[in-house]
Amino acid sequence: MATPNTALWEVFIRSRNGLAHKHVGSLHASDATMALQAARDIYTRRGEGLSIWVVPSNTITASDPAEKGMMFEPAQSKIYRHPTFYEVPEEVGHM
């Protein structure tokens, strides 16, 4: 039961070295320390993580879904921006 005055936090987990932190969900907590503990308890129970970030949800600035035509559609026709014209050596690993 979330009370109105318990802040919402977004949780990001990095599962392996070399990978980026990935958004996994959100939770309610009174402050950053408690948010980190709760994130550990909720989102890393099955060995998912090596590192956790928690970020206050209200600090995230999101794009407006109504503007998605203007924001994202122009990129769809630019196939030449995809790095498909050369091969990535295996040794590079995660890109």
């Binding site: 039961m1 309610h28 907590a29 503990q37 709760a38 308890d41």
Partner: protein, 258 residues
């Protein structure tokens, strides 16, 4: 009850492992009673995680006790087929959950001890106990942090959370002395390096607990008188009720699995 209690040859080492296993099982069971009832989803998961850590510790210790005894007993029989007088856990861990503050204060008192205890037991001359200690220490270190952060916020929170947490400290204080007491059977194990002397942990335990309690703007009681008896099977009225729930299935349908 449909199934008779097992008999156990309580040599000092069997008894020693049983006592620690019972601590972990009973506290783990108490915490599992919060599952689906905790104040928030986040805390529901946190308490269940801790319960599962403790259950895992209990299983290893029961298996070890059964192996050392070398009879027909195993971890399940030790957990499900002993009556209340055969249980050897600390009185602290069998205390009812009460409100959230009481559960958290009980957890602070126990985890602050368990963290020091397992860290010290990593140097046990008994390799199995040393290995169990190395695994348990990481778990108890987190349990201590979890409980400490909550006590600080409850004590330094609202007027009501402060009052409830102080009441829990006052009520549970007299159950903390038993953690540091030693009887003759354990003295022999301490002398041979199998066990550590828990009395040596008390100054650090007191400092850890005092620091948290003071940061929480709460007070530790002055009382010196301490309850004893759990280690010898003399329990309060609550443990029998707990066991009747914990053991009901195996007593009613012996050997049941799913």
């Amino acid at each position: 009850m449909a199934v008779a209690n097992i008999r156990i040859s309580e040599t000092p080492l069997v008894l020693y492992a049983l006592r620690r296993a019972d601590d972990a099982l009973i506290l783990g069971h108490r915490l599992s009673e919060w599952c689906g009832h905790a104040p928030t989803l986040e805390e529901d998961m946190a308490l269940s995680n801790i319960a599962l850590d403790l259950l895992g510790q209990a299983r290893e210790l029961y298996s070890y006790a059964a192996g050392v005894e070398g009879k027909d007993n195993d971890e399940d029989k030790l957990a499900y087929l002993r009556d209340v007088r055969q249980y050897r856990n600390l009185l602290l861990v069998e205390q009812p959950n009460g409100d959230f503050a009481r559960t958290i204060v009980r957890q602070l008192f126990y985890s602050a001890f368990a963290d020091l205890y397992w860290r010290a037991m990593m140097r046990s001359s008994d390799q199995t106990l040393a290995a169990i200690a190395a695994k348990s220490e990481k778990e108890s270190a987190y349990h201590l942090r979890h409980a400490s952060e909550w006590v600080i916020r409850l004590g330094d929170g609202s007027e009501e959370s402060h009052a409830r947490t102080q009441a829990a400290i006052d009520d549970l204080w007299s159950f903390t002395g038993e953690m540091f007491s030693v009887d003759d059977s354990e003295r022999a194990l301490i002398d041979t390096g199998v066990a550590i002397d828990p009395a040596t942990l008390r100054p650090q335990w007191l400092k850890t607990v005092s620091d948290v309690v003071h940061e929480a703007t709460l007070l530790l009681p002055k009382g010196e008188w301490m309850q004893q008896g759990g280690r010898d099977g003399r329990h309060g009225e609550h443990l029998g009720h707990l066991l009747s729930e914990l053991q009901y299935m195996q007593r009613t349908f012996p050997g049941l699995t799913w």
